[in-house]
Symmetry: C2
Subunit: 458 residues, 2 copies
């Protein structure tokens, strides 16, 4: 048992050194006198996971650039940060955590264990071959980068956000790049098929070969991967990247008697406290990030989130509650944005597929525009899709050459404020030739939806 702090300060243990864990540690330490101990299984601490594809693409010169805060920073802040350390168990009754054979007391505990990459059943043995990667940690990224230096043919399995970003990145490195996706549409968790087609065309225009509606059957090779079998055909591969989703890391919590929800995530309340098997919430044990089960604002259904921005907001709420500044976390609409080649792609709220699965009737409006006045040099295409339920905005998707992050943030506000199609139609938007068009495409998207609602002539 470790020593009891002579000053009698409260002990906070944080399991996980990702976006939630280190944000809570740093902020709590700055605003209180907790003893803060962080366990992270990752050998590296405090880096931008989201930046990895951009190092692979060559936009960022090296992985060191992704390091945010040094080991010294945490030392000087008085945070006991144990990297490369796996927690073995949590004992809620005794308020201890077991790590490397030693028990550590806590008064308050934060579970921010994140998630681990999923590997499709059929590929599990093949995934043990050399040069087969999942891309999660900085170490993963570094190893991938090294392997890509000697590669010619890359196969990326999974056409979600990370898969699409990495496909663009590998293509920009001059590699033969094949992206294979189980379902018919890329980014199917994020955007509708018609919008995904724009991304697919862009990837193909960059030279990426895209195969959809096929799940790879096997990874082949001896020691080192040599090919991937897709639809009975072998495709050469020096490097394979599996980006087929993640599963929340909840074993520690489940073993400790914390409830796991239908999504596989840890059940929490609005204060981000965990639910126990007796149905109560532990007032001293918090959970945030990818391992937590959230609620979707539009459908009311439970969901998991891989968004760093959502994790960061949860960290803020956990921080507030730990330092007795009351704060709570509500249902989410999950605004998301990615850069795939030259395209910015974003979404917020529900997609048509999610609506269908939940029996929600939608009316959509899609508009095409440009990022500048038509006559302005460098103007690129812009696509905006709006989804309405009972005339209220519940989903929005945008693709274009610029401004997509800011558009999605604005549409996030629009959804959270329950904005009607008429309000969007009458929205005052600003204009200058280099930055947009006199009538914003948003207006046309709303007009398109309204036309369907009222079935009036064009």
């Amino acid at each position: 048992m470790n020593d009891i702090d002579p000053a009698g300060r409260k002990k906070l243990i944080i399991i996980g050194g990702g976006a939630v864990g280190l944000a809570v540690a740093t902020s709590v330490k700055r605003h209180s006198d907790y003893d803060v101990l962080v366990f992270s299984s990752d050998p590296h601490a405090s880096y931008s996971q989201c930046g990895i594809p951009f190092v692979i693409a060559g936009d960022i010169s090296d992985f060191n650039s992704l390091l945010l805060r040094s080991r010294e920073f945490f030392e000087e802040a008085g945070i006991d940060l144990r990297t490369g350390t796996t927690v073995q168990s949590i004992d809620l009754a005794n308020r201890t955590v077991l790590a490397e054979g030693e028990n550590y007391n806590f008064d308050r505990l934060v579970i921010a264990t994140g998630s681990t990459p999923s590997i499709p059943e059929k590929l599990r043995s093949g995934a043990l071959l050399e040069n087969v990667f999942t891309v999660r940690t900085l170490q993963d990224g570094m190893r991938l980068e090294k392997a890509l230096l000697k590669a010619s043919n890359t196969v990326i399995i999974g056409g979600g956000a990370i898969g699409a970003e990495l496909a663009a990145a590998c293509s920009r490195r001059g590699l033969n790049t094949l992206l294979v996706n189980r379902s018919s549409s890329l980014l199917s968790h994020n955007i509708d098929p018609d919008m995904a087609d724009i991304v697919r065309e862009h990837l193909e225009s960059m030279g990426v070969q895209v195969i959809t509606d096929y799940a790879p059957q096997a990874l082949n090779g001896e020691d080192i991967v040599r090919s991937v079998t897709i639809g009975g055909k072998e495709f050469p591969a020096d490097v394979v990247i599996i980006s087929a989703g993640v599963k929340p890391e909840t074993e520690l919590a489940a073993d400790a008697g914390i409830m796991i929800g239908p999504t596989g995530g840890i059940i929490i309340n609005d204060d981000l406290q965990v639910k126990l098997t007796d149905g109560t919430y532990d007032p001293d044990v918090y959970c945030g990030g990818e391992c937590a089960q959230l609620q979707d604002l539009i459908t009311g259904r439970p969901l998991l989130s891989q968004l760093a921005s959502t994790a960061r907001r949860m960290a803020g709420v956990i921080r507030d509650n730990l330092i007795e500044e009351q704060s709570s976390f509500g249902p989410v609409i999950s605004p998301w944005v990615a850069v795939i080649g030259e395209l910015e792609v974003g979404t917020v709220g529900i997609t048509t597929q999610v609506a269908r699965l939940n029996g929600i009737d939608l009316v959509s409006g899609l508009a095409t525009g440009t990022t500048s006045a038509g006559y302005y040099p460098g103007s690129t295409r812009l696509y905006i899709k709006l989804l309405f339920r009972n005339r209220i905005l519940v989903g929005a998707q945008a693709i274009g050459g610029k401004g997509i992050k800011e558009r999605i943030d604005g549409l996030s506000l629009a959804i959270s404020k329950r904005t009607t199609v008429d309000e969007i139609l009458n929205l005052e938007t600003c204009y200058t030739p280099p930055l947009g068009t006199l009538v914003d495409p948003l207006t046309y998207a709303a007009k398109g939806a309204l036309r369907k609602m009222s079935r009036v002539r064009k």
Copy 2:
């Protein structure tokens, strides 16, 4: 008297060939069988006035690029467009317009006469010198461009939007550029002094000399301008640009017995019909654009607008009413954006100065951020200022290297939906390293304002 149309079609006369006039003409013609006759005093028709500074800057190669629709387009559309034609008078009793000595009947009339540049009293005689310009029409732009080819020293009088854009443009052409502004702060109608200082510093970093708190006393020269007297000192000038605001062009309307409001603009109702001296609104006479008096949503006060985007929205409402699709135009919050050198500058709602003049108590929050993750190459500074009245957003200003148009549009929505400081603080924003930061500066601006409201520790 011109012939009566044998088909008995209704006659629509539009006075003004700018953003309102031609948009109404084109759209009405497409959706109805009005006879459409447009009088425009401008020899050129259908061009982007807002694009002129960007041709001067060299971003757009030539003025022909600004031409939007050809003379043939209007002919083929069946619109009788009379450019270079000045209307002499309107006779409301007889439903006629007098132009070039001839009377033209109308059933419906649209007054979209726009505005003309103001020239400060003291400079009126000097303004007659060669190489002294106001920049309003395409012809103005072409003449200015020609004069700049032979110029070394340019003096721009007036530090509003056009003045600042043109100062940046002249500086990019390699000219010695002096910008002189009567008040202490540039862009004083658009943004607060602290934000304007950022623009001033940027202009100075480009090599523009900025003099504030001085109104030029005289323009000197014989035939051709040679210098400008400012604060008793002579500054050399081969070219002088006067951009000291505009006044609405309302003489025709006033002479016809249409009411002019305290701003000098034509008084209109929500249907954009003009008010007559007997207090009624003429159901067949519409007015839109810079010559119309609008109402500010926040202060409730009358105002004029020079925004092309606002003019375009008014054109839509006039069009709807002309073709019997009921539509109305409400009070405005006037989102505005400009590109000044490398900076995008935007605003929406009221400024601190307007609040002060109207006795409105504001609490503000200002945040500085970056346009990408700190480690991402090419990241530039971003400034966001939010203004709240009783915790409700009533004004917002933003300056930065990208995404300002889209941010201002989002903040326009936020103001129109009466968004609270807490709602902005809890807004879900999206993140990817190339396009922003994990916590958006908007959050910090709201936090800054909230801190002042609750006077809690930092």
